[in-house]
């Protein structure tokens, strides 16, 4: 479709007649979003949830597709197979707005329900039911999250979601679309600003000479690098190999949040220079040569772009405590010491520059969004533009304006279970904690409700291993081992275990295999074994 963002805003889910949630435990991880899913349900919408676990998100579902981790493409191709066979697709939309339908048709041909059932574990009658509901709803939306992206086939999983939406013409109207939920207040904004290895602000590819030149001119520079940099896991590998000598970490705790923690620790310890800018002395900050104290969100001001592409102005509630500073101030001071000239007096100056550099943000000035509840949703190219809550209503953001079917095939995860490591470990989050836990593990009310690392295991597996409820067990993978409290539950299928990554330990176990394109690590699938801790 040509855009890496939610096509429709969150409240628009309330207009859907069918919501297909895949790889998202939104009631725990984006609780606010459940408001509109529940509203839609109350208005008669059907909810389909695809997840390996029976999470509170699945409570909302009319149809639960309990797939094996790492089999999303097979599931999605299976849905498309049924939709094509039963002629439930939107021929008019396909004719007018897309290219590549024939290739898609060919690619999903082999994914008949019995083959899909074998790969995914989802019964064919549920698959048919789900296909019918999604394709035939007047307006149907797809919501996805890390359950789709954190795979070695994450990029292809995303394409698969996009193919399904195009096939049924479920895009460009209220209540439709593809909605990837982003986890942080400003992670969409960070991507928009070019805080990515291969992109300049506004998703200008570093390999694009014209785009590069335009931005270089605006920044008063001769030229900008034409080669992509490294993504986070690649950086850790480069540090481990001694190719990177220094890393500057901001608001991130890679020692807990990156896969294969032992490797990350070794890599960080090999660095000549590690700077960590954080609110707290996190696990990573404890390894740093210099820690720069950053202010919290209540102590700073500026614009934020949330998961809906909505740009809002956040005011500070209190002045920064002690010697902490807002991140932008710290970055400016460091840059100026390096001889660069970062002459921003206030966050407004920064947004004014964004207005000049990123066309989609041209009309989103501090003056406009400061007095406006709900801010503005990009693209907003001019000062009188009302913003664009729904993308792709007329054309897609591709060269020819057409949506492209890009067929993909099921690919097994990087690590499969075997005799030595017979259980499939998948990781995720719980409602009480946020990311690496740097903040939430410091909150007494949250910590007392979720105090320690646990592993969810099916009663059948627990019985086989002689594990009783709440017993401390050892989880072992090829990367290392860790201890966790056994939480025996039928939320997941036998053979699959789940651990949240908010506590140091889980990512000792995860694999650092990456998606070929997006370079996202496969947090969702690893092979492990569990023993009693004796």
């Amino acid at each position: 479709m040509g855009s890496g963002a939610m096509t429709n805003p969150i409240p628009d889910l309330g207009n859907a007649q069918c919501i297909f949630i895949i790889g998202s435990n939104l009631t725990e991880n984006h609780p606010i979003v459940s408001q509109w899913v529940l509203d839609a349900k109350e208005s008669g919408a059907k909810i389909i949830a695809a997840d390996p676990r029976y999470t509170p998100t699945v409570w909302m579902a009319d149809i639960f597709l309990q797939l094996k981790p790492g089999t999303d493409i097979a599931l999605l191709n299976g849905l498309m197979h049924i939709i094509i066979k039963e002629k439930l697709y939107n021929q008019d939309f396909i004719n007018r707005r897309t290219t590549g339908f024939a290739q898609l048709q060919e690619a999903v041909e082999e994914y008949d329900p019995s083959m899909v059932e074998e790969i995914t574990g989802v019964s064919s009658h549920l698959l048919r039911e789900a296909a019918g509901l999604y394709a035939q709803a007047k307006a149907a939306g797809i919501v996805y999250c890390m359950g789709i992206t954190q795979h070695t086939c994450g990029h292809d999983n995303v394409l698969s979601c996009s193919n399904l939406a195009l096939l049924c013409g479920q895009v460009g109207r209220p209540g439709t679309g593809v909605l990837p939920l982003r986890g942080q207040t400003n992670v969409q904004g960070a991507c928009d600003m070019g805080a990515l290895a291969g992109f300049l602000p506004g998703y200008v590819n570093v390999a694009d000479p014209n785009g590069r030149e335009r931005i270089a001119r605006l920044w008063g520079r001769e030229n900008l690098p034409d080669q992509p940099g490294l993504t986070v896991v690649e950086m850790m590998n480069a540090a481990w190999e001694g190719k990177i000598k220094g890393i500057y970490v901001m608001g991130e705790n890679p020692l807990v949040s990156d896969p294969h923690s032992h490797h990350v620790e070794e890599a960080l310890k090999k660095l000549d220079f590690l700077v960590v800018q954080d609110m707290f002395l996190s696990e990573t900050a404890q390894l740093a040569h210099i820690v720069l104290p950053a202010a919290s969100w209540v102590e700073k001001e500026g614009s934020l772009t949330n998961t809906e592409r909505r740009v809002q102005w956040a005011r500070k509630a209190i002045h920064p405590i002690d010697e902490t500073k807002a991140d932008w101030q710290i970055i400016c001071q460091v840059a100026n010491q390096l001889g660069l000239q970062y002459n921003y007096a206030c966050p407004e100056d920064i947004l004014h520059e964004i207005n000049k550099v990123i066309p989609a943000y041209s009309g989103i000035t501090p003056e406009r969004i400061k007095g406006r509840a709900g801010g503005l949703i990009w693209p907003c190219p001019t000062f009188d533009h009302p913003g664009t809550p729904i993308l792709h209503s007329e054309t897609f953001r591709t060269a020819d304006g057409l949506g492209k079917f890009i067929p993909v095939k099921h690919q097994p995860p990087a690590e499969l279970t075997d005799e030595e490591y017979p259980l499939l470990l998948t990781t995720g989050r719980v409602v009480m904690h946020y990311n690496a836990g740097s903040m939430t593990r410091r909150s007494a009310p949250l910590l007392k409700r979720s105090p320690e690392l646990f592993v969810e295991i099916h009663p059948r597996d627990a019985r086989k291993l002689g594990i009783s409820a709440h017993e401390e067990v050892k989880i072992i993978t090829r990367r290392g081992d860790t201890l966790a409290r056994a939480n025996i539950t039928s939320k997941l299928s036998p053979g699959i275990v789940f651990m949240p990554f908010h506590f140091a330990g889980t990512n000792i176990l995860t694999i650092d295999a990456l998606d070929k394109r997006a370079k996202i690590p496969e947090f969702k699938v690893a092979a492990c074994r569990i023993t009693k801790n004796i």
Binding site: E28, Q35, L38, G44, P56, A444, K491
Partner: protein, 190 residues
């Protein structure tokens, strides 16, 4: 010295019930509760680290936020030997902690297991509907914080009217009222 509880600062004693005026209640929509427990944490923040809301999870499927129902005929008020428990006019049943002797009788008679014993101060504690917020014209903290909008603070008749309208809409659009019939709790699935 123990910090004076917020509820004690409220003028009390014999506020007569007003005829015809209805009490507002915290109403739970059990179909909307997602077991995020945000209400518990919000309550804890408002009540000096004591929570008076407790979300109970059954069968890993049914989430029920349990708090004081502020019963019309409150057993706790009836049995309280020191009259520490009183109803504020048509409002909430609250505890005057200075009068409470910690006998726990209220806990014994409460059908919902609401009153909790605070061992640090030796008194019983329970939901006061955030009386300090009500006095400022604000709704209870649990209600305004609930991200799923499962909690509502209103007169029961007003809420029931909304439920009626929703059910009527469902009947008209031919949508079944039984939620999630294809999804069963995990226990029955394996």
């Amino acid at each position: 010295m123990e910090r004076c509880p917020a509820s004690f600062e409220v003028p009390l004693g014999g506020a007569a019930r007003v005829e015809g005026e209805k009490m507002k209640v915290i109403f739970m929509d059990l179909n909307r509760c997602i077991y995020c427990r945000t209400c518990e944490v919000a309550c804890e923040r408002e009540h000096d680290r004591h929570t008076h809301m407790s979300v109970v999870l059954l069968n890993e499927r049914y989430s029920v936020p349990m708090n004081c129902r502020h019963c019309e005929k409150s057993p706790c008020v009836v049995v309280c030997p020191t009259r520490a428990l009183t109803r504020l006019g048509n409002g909430p049943v609250i505890t005057e902690t200075m009068k409470c002797i910690g006998c726990r009788l209220c806990a014994m008679v409460c059908p919902f297991g609401v009153p909790e014993f605070d061992s640090s101060s030796g008194v019983m504690r329970k939901c006061d509907q955030c009386i300090h917020r009500l006095n400022e014209g604000k709704a209870p903290a649990c209600v305004v914080t609930c991200p799923a909008r499962a909690l509502t603070y209103d007169e029961v008749d007003t809420i029931m009217q909304k439920v009626k309208e929703r059910a009527a809409k469902a009947i008209i659009s031919g949508v079944g009222l039984e939620p999630g019939v294809l999804v069963r709790p995990p226990d029955s699935r394996h």
